[in-house]
């Protein structure tokens, strides 16, 4: 029996290759994701190991809270005076106050370098006099020694065309600062730490510009020989005042690494979701291919049974074939995964997500997962066709193998399908609505079950759908149309399985499109509702930095401008949750933003006051004059008075502060955005010219109108969307290949019919047209079902669950119509090869073939 299996496989190399393709691509995606994750993980390990190479212990403030959006633990800076007092602690060999924070370097052409909002961070630090604590090596010039001198990383020097001796500008706290480049440094062997730009100041400059005078971010220590890291940390801890902590260098390294990996977690989840989708698509293809080949071999299997092969032997011979295909395909997919990882990295870079380069890491875990998953999916998908092969009676050898199983699906099947569908929908909504610890898993399982439910019901609905979709064909294309329609209808089971793969892809595409379109619409709606100004000056920083508040003052003084109001953001823990907190100047902000004050006084937002959104006020039973504790990272817990309750959640969210409260509680004072309203009677062009004239002194800023600003806000969504579309495109290609494969096998099965048609006068062109039309009907069927599911999911999440708070479902009809058209074109394209092969069939062989 073993021999028979292998001979079968060899005889059908091409068919197997086509089947294997789906598994190969799915496995490649999984392997690629794992390889990329491992590679990034190792790169970050290396990066932080270099940063903290000589650091044995670190003294820092205790974390106030963990920041949102993977920003890690938030802690205030430490007093510089502490350095001297800790120097006498037993075991300390050397120490250095360390400063890290937002700083942006301006290149020779006057343009700010890097893209801190979406790419690698732009950082400022102080030059460490202690060699063991300094991860940078001078490659040109000397270390910064006097005020106004800086050393910069080699990548920034290259990107900004800066050389030793050049003068340029840095953007940090306060107005743009002129500096002289006196040194260029490398980071270990790399030009820069993971693509970030670094400006190294003298310590006093760094304190003035990056943290605050007399403050360090943390203090690093080198242990005396023979003193362990843990011992040094213990000694330091004993000498520390309340609120500070001493930790080992090792701990700091691992914390930094896991922070970086957490930030990539969502991206990895996304990739795995698509790998699973690709494998599901592959599973349908495998099921179809094996079903058809088993049907083709009915006589052969009947003969084997007649000659004494047991059911089990027939079944195992089919399964053996599946295992071999699965193993081979997984192995190829694994190898391809390395290329996929490199491609994904390039893709991320192209989309503005910079990942530091590093050697490819190929872990044993990747190999095992890829092989097990790939082979497992193949065998699972081949199980039912294999069982069917085992059930072939010996008498089949003597009968004409009429392979016209109709397979509408039994009543039980319909019930099972509806059950799975209901279960999937239940899981989906539970995951979305209930507050679970791992909603992604539940939602994922729910989505997979829904797709399975529809796939089970597929063969029941395939006949009526094909009938309807194919209805216009006879009148459009005459008898070729009739034959194509009938061919699509003659085996609903097979049509359904071929269409299911495409259904999954189109379902995902349309769901994600609706989701993203509604998210964008939500942004537009809220901004349109609350913004009444004319321009937005965007600092180009991503929430960690910004532009000096002086800019807003200068713009506000322009005669062409009525109001200019800066907006600052920070994090605080309020009512048990860490939030992004916005601060605005009450004197100017409300002339530009209508926050819809409900109770209290807008002008009452002093240093001790907070404004609360109406829903948050209701939830926490707050009224004007109540005091709530607010935890700030830099200043600790403050009791803030509720001074205003407002009715528009944008741009401030649930809470906002007046500028004086922000100044009292945050070390850095950056405006992220400056909102501008032009003076009455001034033309937009004149106002824009005046504003631009000021902003040219602030590199990195851009003046945008509302539409441009919205476009920029949407950009990350669109970038993510592009990535998703590219991944889905891969899955769509597999699904279309599946349809092509099914067609090719169907043609083999209908070889006599094709011979007959050709004999009685069907031209090659007509025959190709029949096959193309059948392909289009199948493709449109998958598309129609996918659209239905996708639109329902999209509607459920956006409207029923109201994920964006606006309830506005934006269905991008044009995109969805484009999807349908593309599916039809895809159907035509995928049919080209099978159609050509069918047209080239030797008529005579087709007729006389047994």
């Amino acid at each position: 029996m073993l021999g028979t299996s292998f001979k079968n496989m060899l005889a059908h190399r091409r068919r197997l290759a086509a089947t294997a393709l789906a598994v190969i691509l799915g496995v490649a995606l999984i392997a690629g994701t794992l390889v990329l994750t491992d590679t990034i993980s190792q790169t970050f390990s290396g990066l932080y190991t270099t940063v903290y190479q000589g650091t044995d212990a670190v003294v820092r403030a205790k974390a106030a809270f963990t920041g949102i959006q993977n920003s890690g633990a938030q802690r205030p800076p430490v007093d510089a005076g502490l350095v001297a007092s800790l120097r006498t602690v037993q075991g300390v060999a050397a120490d250095e106050g360390v400063i890290w924070g937002y700083t942006r370097l301006v290149g020779k052409n006057g343009q700010a370098l890097g893209n801190p909002a979406n790419g690698a961070p732009t950082l400022g630090s102080n030059w460490s006099q202690v060699a063991a604590l300094n991860p940078f090596h001078l490659v040109a010039g000397h270390a910064p020694q006097a005020a106004g001198q800086v050393a910069i990383d080699a990548k920034s020097a290259r990107d900004g065309h800066l050389a030793v001796g050049d003068t340029t500008t840095v953007l940090a706290n306060g107005p743009p600062q002129p500096v002289q480049v006196v040194g260029i440094v490398s980071f270990g062997t790399a030009d820069s730490p993971g693509g970030a730009s670094v400006v190294l100041f003298t310590t006093p400059d760094a304190q003035r510009l990056v943290t605050a005078p007399g403050k360090f971010s943390t203090i690093s220590f080198v242990a005396q020989p023979g003193v362990s890291q843990a011992q040094l940390a213990r000694n330091l801890q004993a000498a520390l005042p309340v609120g500070l902590e001493a930790v080992t260098g090792q701990q700091v390294t691992s914390e930094a690494r896991s922070n970086a990996l957490n930030a990539l977690g969502q991206f990895n989840t996304l990739l795995i979701v698509f790998a699973v989708a690709a494998l599901l698509v592959g599973a349908f293809m495998i099921f179809n291919t094996f079903s058809i080949t088993v049907a083709q071999r009915t006589r052969e299997n009947g003969l084997l049974r007649a000659l004494g092969a047991t059911r089990r032997q027939i079944l195992s011979s089919v399964l053996l074939e599946a295992v071999t295909v699965g193993l081979l395909a997984s192995a190829v997919g694994l190898a391809l995964g390395v290329a996929v990882a490199a491609g994904l990295k390039a893709l991320l870079a192209a989309l503005g997500i910079d990942i530091p380069a590093g050697g490819i890491v190929f872990a044993a875990r990747t190999v095992i997962i890829a092989l097990v998953v790939g082979t497992g999916v193949t065998v699972a998908a081949a199980l039912s066709p294999a069982r069917k092969a085992g059930k072939v009676p010996p008498i089949a050898a003597m009968q004409d193998a009429a392979v016209t199983s109709t397979g509408y699906g039994s009543k039980q099947r319909v019930f099972v399908g509806l059950g799975v569908l209901a279960l999937g929908a239940a899981a989906l909504f539970t995951g979305l609505l209930a507050h679970l610890s791992s909603p992604v898993l539940v939602v994922g399982v729910g989505a997979v079950l829904v797709f399975f439910g529809v796939a089970i019901l597929g063969r029941t609905v395939a006949l009526p759908i094909s009938r309807v979709l194919g209805a216009p064909l006879p009148s459009l294309r005459g008898v070729t149309g009739t034959i194509a329609r009938q061919n699509a209808m003659r085996n609903p089971k097979r049509t359904a399985a071929a269409a299911s793969a495409l259904m999954i892809c189109v379902g995902l595409v349309s769901f994600i499109t609706i989701f993203a379109s509604s998210a964008t619409a939500a942004i537009n709606t809220v901004y349109a509702r609350s913004f009444t100004g004319d321009f937005i000056i965007n600092s180009g920083a991503g929430g960690t930095g910004g532009v000096a508040p002086a800019l807003a003052r200068r713009v506000g003084q322009l005669p062409q401008v009525a109001l200019a109001s800066g907006l600052r953001v920070g994090m605080a823990k309020i009512e048990g949750g860490v939030q992004q907190v916005v601060a605005v100047d009450p004197k100017t902000a409300f002339g530009i933003f209508d926050v819809q004050p409900l109770q209290g006084n807008e002008n009452d937002l002093g240093p001790d006051a907070i404004a609360v959104y109406k829903t948050a006020a209701t939830d926490h039973h707050l009224k004007i004059g109540d005091h709530i504790p607010v935890l700030f990272a830099d200043t600790g817990t403050r009791s803030m008075r509720v001074a205003l309750i407002y009715g528009s959640s944008e741009p401030a969210g649930n809470y906002f502060l007046g500028i004086s409260a922000y100044q009292a509680n945050f070390t850095n004072q950056y405006d992220l955005l400056v909102f501008v309203k032009k003076a009455p009677g001034v033309s937009t062009a004149a106002a824009l010219a005046a504003v631009t004239n000021v902003t040219k002194d602030y590199p990195g800023t851009t003046v945008q109108n509302e539409a441009q600003y919205e476009a920029q806000v949407e950009q990350p969504i669109n970038q993510l969307l592009n990535l998703i579309y590219i991944l889905l495109l891969l899955a769509v290609i597999i699904a279309l290949l599946g349809i092509g494969n099914t067609l090719a096998l169907s043609i083999y099965e209908r070889i006599r019919e094709i011979g007959l048609l050709r004999a009685v006068g069907m031209t090659r062109r007509q025959l190709r047209s029949v096959i193309r039309l059948e392909s289009v009907v199948i493709a449109l069927q998958g598309t129609a079902l996918g659209l239905l599911i996708g639109v329902l999911f999209g509607w459920a999440i956006v409207h029923a669950i109201n994920i964006f708070g606006t309830g506005v479902v934006s269905i991008p009809y044009r995109t969805l119509v484009a999807v349908v058209i593309l599916a039809a074109i895809g159907g035509v394209v995928t049919a080209i090869r099978p159609a050509r092969r069918a047209a080239k069939l030797n008529i005579l062989r087709a007729i006389v073939t047994e």
Partner: protein, 254 residues
């Protein structure tokens, strides 16, 4: 029917509806060479029913396939009317088959997804033509399948299926009909039915028919029998009877 029977089935010497000259069909090379057709020159006269007989491997089916443009000759020529088949490309050949030739095969004659009516008019539908409705109705009446028109082939008996095939071959009024063992899969009663339809098509509709068979009874419905052996014509017989054919076959077998 009156109009149809004006052309006589006995007109001689009739013009050839199809013919071959020195037709050779060779498979394989050198030592494994097989001459399926070894220089056959034969003409199939208009409005006559010709049977081709011979033992298995005599080349009778190959002769039919090559004459009908389903297969190509290794050397020699095959004509439908005055058209040399070798001069036509695949498309022209297909159009020729659609317009000038009718086919009846032993099995798998009908497209399973089409109804009997659609199968009958298939060559016309493929050509985008309506066809002569009165003629088609007459053909349907003659082959006695009027009550089966809406059925799919799977819902028809073997005899009914072959009658539909006969109707299809006649529907487009082809210049010639090639039938390859049309009764091979039928019981004797259904077979006789189909053969008498073919006979009537020749007698009443002046149809030209060439039929390959190895069954003496079937051959006896023909006007003329051509006997083949080893790719050559070895004998001929006019106005055959079943007994006469059997007698001749036995002689050839010796």
């Amino acid at each position: 029917m009156a109009e149809l029977s004006t052309s006589t089935s006995t007109a001689a010497p009739a013009r050839a509806a199809a013919r071959t000259e020195e037709a050779c069909k060779i498979y394989g090379k050198d030592q494994t060479e097989v001459r399926a057709l070894d220089g056959i020159t034969v003409a199939f006269e208009q409005s006559r029913f010709t049977a081709i007989m011979g033992p298995s491997g005599s080349g009778k089916s190959t002769l039919l396939h090559c004459s009908a443009g389903l297969d190509t000759l290794s050397s020699g020529r095959a004509y439908i009317g005055e058209v040399n088949l070798a001069a036509l490309d695949d498309n022209a050949l297909t159009l020729l088959r659609r317009e000038k030739i009718g086919f009846i095969f032993q099995a798998y004659n009908l497209v399973p997804t089409l109804t009997a009516a659609e199968n009958i008019t298939l060559p016309l539908l493929l050509a985008g033509k309506k066809g002569d409705q009165a003629w088609i109705e007459q053909v349907i009446a003659t082959t006695a399948i009027a009550d089966r028109l809406k059925h799919r082939p799977a819902e028809l008996s073997g005899g009914q299926q072959q009658r539909v095939a006969v109707a299809r071959a006649l529907a487009s009024r082809p210049q010639i009909i090639f039938a390859d063992e049309p009764t091979g899969n039928l019981d004797s009663r259904a077979g006789a039915e189909v053969l008498s339809f073919l006979r009537r098509a020749v007698d009443e509709m002046s149809q030209t028919i060439v039929m390959v068979t190895h069954d003496a009874t079937a051959a006896s419905y023909a006007d003329r029998i051509v006997f083949l052996a080893d790719g050559r014509i070895v004998d001929e017989m006019g106005h055959p009877t079943a007994a006469g054919v059997l007698e001749r076959m036995r002689k050839l077998g010796e």
